[in-house]
């Protein structure tokens, strides 16, 4: 018996050599081996074809020539500084929130620093191929602003930890300011909303419908659990009807049917109608996701709040919702990511957002047949935006998870881990 003791006294050191790992995970048995070989062959074929195309026959000049068009569409060139300024507002806010949320940890460990360096270098390299030196310089400035504001946010966050709860409000304010900037509501020369195009329109449509569908979705979720039958039924009908319709029909209806149905003296902008469609659509799905979170909050929580004399409004807003929303952050972010991608459907109803602008470029006889180049580029932008969102969500979850460990309810704890 005594001989077994030393064996278990130290945790076994894990063999992390690549060959051992590969042997275990890639060539475990004959089936695994087969899968590995087939995957490598397919992947290799796709990659070599793609790369050889990208470096030999692809003619990339279409991207730099139309870079501005794809990004901000037909936004007046002499007013572009307003877009830079509103980007600065967003970046500053982003850095600030990052700092406030990581007030108790290190902002950038070595890995983070290296990542940031690589990212900036890549950005400069890519931009150098695409645009002018001034834009590159401003982009670098924005990154410095981001990091700088992160340090500021961290310092302020340490002094005023309750600032964390005000961040959503700050963001709302930031969005309104940058919207006013881009629209030219603050500094003269307004640009009409219906003249937005390119990535600018994509981002605008996504952000506005995300921000607006959130409160609407939460209200619908609460309505679905209401004790008043009318409210409950209205919520259920709304949610189920919308979830039964494809987004594209809602968008078509918003563009074609709504103007016919409305009396002539009510004029609505095309973009506004599209935004309403996206928002109403997203809210129904959000409501279902939030409802899942509400159900995960144990009944004892409401009972404890009631026993303390808290009325239903206080109970919902201070006890139930915070726990429910935290539990469904990953689901909600997932939904927002798909909403972001769904804005590309706006192309079909005639908008020149990122994808639509790509079509416009391709329609130009000068760039005939450059589908591969343009679509790949657009795909990359979507990919970058979506990965940024899911990365941010994972960070947010981690921050909330470490700051507020929970025991109840178990299924929520399991997700946070």
């Amino acid at each position: 018996m005594t001989t077994t003791t030393p064996q278990f006294s130290a945790p076994p050191t894990r063999q992390t050599s690549i060959s051992a790992w590969a042997k275990k995970n890639l060539f475990g048995d004959w089936f695994n081996t087969l899968l590995t070989i087939v995957s490598v062959l397919v992947l290799g074929w796709v990659l070599t074809t793609l790369l050889s195309w990208a470096f030999t026959s692809a003619r990339w000049d279409v991207i730099p020539s139309n870079f501005k068009l794809l990004m901000v569409g037909r936004y007046p060139v002499n007013l572009l500084w307003r877009i830079w300024l509103s980007l600065a507002v967003i970046m500053g806010l982003g850095g600030f929130s990052w700092g406030v949320l990581s007030r108790d940890t290190r902002l950038l460990d070595r890995r983070g620093l290296i990542m940031l360096g690589i990212l900036s270098a890549t950005l400069v390299l890519v931009l150098a191929l695409l645009t002018d030196p001034v834009s590159i310089a401003i982009s670098l400035g924005l990154i410095i602003l981001l990091v700088g504001m992160a340090f500021v946010g961290q310092q302020i966050g340490r002094v005023q930890p309750q600032l964390g709860t005000w961040l959503p409000l700050l963001w709302l304010f930031g969005f309104i300011v940058s919207y006013a900037l881009v629209r030219g509501l603050i500094f003269g020369a307004p640009v009409r909303l219906d003249d937005f195009s390119g990535l600018l329109l994509t981002l605008f449509a996504a952000v506005v419908s995300i921000v607006l569908s959130f409160p609407l979705g939460v209200l619908l979720a609460l309505g679905r659990r209401s004790e008043l039958p009318i409210i409950r039924w209205l919520s259920v009908i709304y949610i189920e009807v919308i979830r039964g319709l494809p987004l594209i029909t809602i968008l078509f209806a918003s563009q074609l049917l709504v103007p016919l149905a409305l009396p002539g003296y009510i004029r609505t902008g095309r973009v506004v109608r599209a935004l309403v469609g996206l928002t109403l659509f997203s809210a129904a799905y959000l409501a279902e996701n939030v409802r899942g979170g509400l159900q995960a909050v144990p009944r004892g929580q409401t009972e404890a709040a009631k026993a303390l004399g808290m009325n239903p409004v206080l109970t919902t807003s201070l006890i139930v919702l915070p726990q429910a929303l935290k539990a469904v952050i990953p689901t909600i972010v997932g939904q927002f990511i798909s909403l972001f991608k769904d804005t590309s459907l706006l192309t079909i109803v005639g908008f020149a957002e990122l994808l639509g602008m790509g079509q416009t470029v391709l329609a130009n006889p000068e760039y005939l047949g450059r589908n591969g180049e343009v679509l790949l580029f657009i795909g990359l932008i979507y990919f970058l935006c979506c990965s940024a969102m899911s990365w941010a969500s994972r960070r947010l979850e981690k921050q909330l998870g470490t700051a507020r460990p929970t025991v109840l309810p178990p299924d929520v704890a399991g997700e946070a881990a």
Partner: protein, 259 residues
Amino acid sequence: MTQPQIETTDTKASAEPIITAKNVEKWYDNNFHVLKGVSLTVTKGEVVVVMGPSGSGKSTFIRTFNALEPYQKGSIEIDGIQLSHDLKNIDAIRREVGMVFQQFNLFPHLTVLQNVTLAPKWVRRWPKAKAEEVAMQLLERVGILNQANKFPGQLSGGQQQRVAIARALAMQPKVMLFDEPTSALDPEMVREVLDVMRTLASSGMTMVCVTHEVGFAREVADRVVLMADGLLVEEATPAEFFSNPKEERSKKFLSQILH
């Protein structure tokens, strides 16, 4: 069918009643008769322990005192406020009645201090400073002062239950209800919670406790009542109840928990 009320010859019997429940009847889902006419009067400063087999309606009964459970017949009056059938005076009564649950039910997304100050701030509308001062005093009383900024999930069960007691006390209730406060605890933590309850009792708080802690009942209770099948079967001083129960049902119950 109502049980004849048994008069106790307690020193406090002449004191002012704070809870008067008369012939309370309740049905769950319109068919399960869970309370079949229960009457109980608790006077100011009295500690009443409610015992009885599982499913006899103890929790349901004390949860009618703060309107967590509606009831269909009878009447309940708390500190002169009538708890009417249509639940009119709920808010007024809930402010007077604190409750401690078997599963603690602390708010996991708030710190200990925030748990305790939440209701005073939002319901009593106290300024933050006052709410925190009171909370700190209470946390000190239950021995959790140094954990004020932790989250409930970081505390042991016994500590959590003591925070729950402090949270209920922060509303400065006139009556405290305890529903099996130690049943979910590991044995070694039962004592720390009972000690807090003992101190609370000796400070003159009116308490109604559902508990099977015989030691606590013997030492602290002014009266023990036994519930079975939705009825109040016996009502006696602890000495009498544990050594010389009158009812057959009580004898059977005691033989099960004392063995």
